[in-house]
Symmetry: C2
Subunit: 370 residues, 2 copies
DNA sequence: ACCCGCTCCGTTAGCGCTAACAAGGACGAA
DNA sequence: TTCGTCCTTGTTAGCGCTAACGGAGCGGGT
């Protein structure tokens, strides 16, 4: 008579696999965890058994036994909803793979002391590391507080990070230059630029990329119409208004993010300008706003989900390194961006209808009001 | 000589608390988990010790020992980004409290077979229950597949759910009626309504609420200008265009969600109408779009995060119930909505400037173009 | 006195997995 | 041969927590 184990749910355990493969549980564990020092034939047998029994390790047991990181924190502050959801999706996927929990908290305050306070409460609660997406990745109070507590940090999309830090980003300079070159290649020579929030280093990188590309085409960047924006729709309205009120308005507007680009389109429409016929408008980020507005925005896509995944992986690697006693290895990962051409850009003065362009989908919906 | 335990991280365990309180670990466990059958004095002593040592239970160990649910799935399909991020935030908070993992997967296909296929792969992987936010909460193929597999489901924001299901929602009917009454009380009698996607039961509830409120004020709903929309910005453009092209255009537009309301504002502006001076526009959902556009939208706030938390709680309660053998208890939770009055609505014909209204903030930014 | 039932609390035995060590074999160097 | 070393695998001992059970103490019905 075998006393059935306390609570036997029908899940297959490592023991089942071990029995099926004719090895010990330890060997299975080794194989499953990227096993080193396992003979090839053994590995095969184990993998067969794993597949046959459809085994998937119990993450709770794993982290309990290994004493691994279980809670990774993430502190955010009103980024665009689109950015946040993308980021969360990526982070959750990475967390699932690693079998760790994602703990998130918002920190809306702009005040340094308050930020530090929130950070302290958060960091001393339970988390073993903190991921900082923008705009908090630029917040010195928070980073300093985390460093003081001794918790590792991964910043995301911070322009030029410190040497001794973990960072994930894209090359804002190159991306902005690429977009500018695209506009120039369409024939635009008077391109209005709406700058991003001056506190963000990425803003400056994008502006520099814009200027650099202009120079390549022999256009003097200092002559280019440029207005300050703050990444908000509102600031985009104001900046666009100023750009289009100039004596000689630009034929294209490059906004430092999609929100401001959407605002530029709105202003153009109110002034009776067609987009892109009378004015090309391009953005940056490829948030969902880019495909919500009409016409859909030409923009630069950041691989937001992938960046979140990379951030978590960096974090976990660092944590593992710390645990096994090794000294910290700092790292920066630069991911690829992508230029997305949609319907908001064309050659200057070109009629909009009848253009054919390598954009993803033609507008199939109704509603081509104008 | 005490052999130090295998890997002693500095965390305080239940044993530490037990020692400090002079009881056994089991008693601590009981107290921490809503303990029944613990004398009041004992409970106090334990709680003291917990506080003093700043103890927080190890969720990995807990779920391992209790054999509890560890992975709750969530299947989503392109809701608005704002909705998704809000929802994820709420879900993550609940997951953290419960110590379970949130596993998310997208299911973009509209094809029934493909949806079923994705669902099957997802559900048989690892998750013990699935939460379905809109629009998937209306997808019969998915719900049927999940039922066939025998996995519990919580649907969110589904209009009128089946009797034998778990559901979280707001009262769309009441909310729409409330909003309509608000417009009527401002003096509007010709209110254009943009309906939501006909596949969503909530759309019908909102339309019914609209009609009911009109009747209360003696306005014939059948005479009210009404256009079909599909919850997208594009469809909102078309519907608004049609509404405002009528011989006798309405003085207010009530769109069934914020995206379509934002589109209505855009159309109004292009036609040279001021909002809310010439046309009041109100939305539904209070997504971030509502405060992104100018003027900011009067809308109905759904407690999205709270709904996600409620959904997870319902799910976990059901899972616990199943585990302890009890028969399933079906449940529906209706959360409170809230009418948010901002700047896009006013009495018909009222000049915009100088209105003073119980809205949250006056527009302090620049950019009052238009 | 006896039994029964109730409340409160401790003991035992794991949950599924892996760190640490040990053991056995293969192979080359001395 | 003999020792050491590397490679491969198994064994042991938990990680921190809780289900299940058992036992002590108390009160009341018979």
């Amino acid at each position: 008579m075998n006393k059935p184990s306390r609570r036997s749910r029908g899940t297959t355990t490592i023991e089942d696999v071990a029995r099926a493969a004719g090895v010990s549980a330890m060997t299975v564990s080794r194989v499953v965890n990227g096993g080193q020092n396992v003979r090839e034939t053994t590995r095969h047998a184990v993998l067969e058994a794993v597949k046959k029994l459809n085994y998937s390790p119990n993450t709770a047991a794993r982290s309990l036994a290994a004493g691994e990181a279980t809670h990774i924190g993430m502190l955010y502050a009103n980024p665009s909803a689109a950015y946040l959801s993308q980021f969360l999706i990526g982070a959750l996927h990475a967390a699932r793979r690693a079998g760790c929990h994602l703990v998130i908290e918002s920190c809306e305050s702009e005040d340094a002391d308050e930020q530090a306070e929130v950070t302290r409460r958060f960091a001393t609660s339970d988390v073993e590391g903190v991921v900082l997406p923008p705009p908090l990745s630029e917040s010195q109070p928070i980073i300093a507080e985390l460093a003081a507590i001794g918790i590792p940090v991964v910043t995301v999309a911070m322009g030029t990070p410190a040497e001794d830090s973990l960072n994930v980003r894209i090359d804002d300079f190159a991306a902005a230059a690429e977009m500018t070159r695209y506009l120039l290649s369409l024939g635009h020579r008077s391109i209005g630029f709406i700058k991003g929030h001056p506190n963000h280093i990425a803003s400056h990188d994008r502006a520099r990329g814009f200027a650099a590309a202009l120079r390549e085409y022999g256009v003097d960047p200092d002559e280019a119409p440029m207005e300050q924006g703050y990444f908000t729709y509102r600031s985009g309205l104001a900046a666009s208004e100023r750009l289009l009120s100039r004596p000689k308005p630009p034929t294209a507007i490059f906004a430092s993010n999609d929100d401001m680009a959407a605002a530029a389109i709105s202003v153009a429409h109110r002034r009776g300008l067609t987009v892109p016929g009378d004015l090309s408008v391009v953005g940056f980020d490829d948030t969902s706003l880019a495909t919500t507005v009409w016409p859909e925005l030409t923009t630069v896509r950041q691989p937001i989900s992938a960046m979140a995944e990379a951030a978590l992986e960096l974090m976990l690697a660092d944590l593992r390194g710390r645990r096994s006693g090794g000294s910290r290895h700092f790292a920066e990962r630069v991911l690829e961006h992508e230029l997305i051409v949609r319907e908001s850009s064309s050659a200057p003065g070109a009629p909009w209808v009848g253009r054919s362009r390598r954009s993803r989908t033609a507008p199939v919906h109704t509603a081509d009001v104008g």
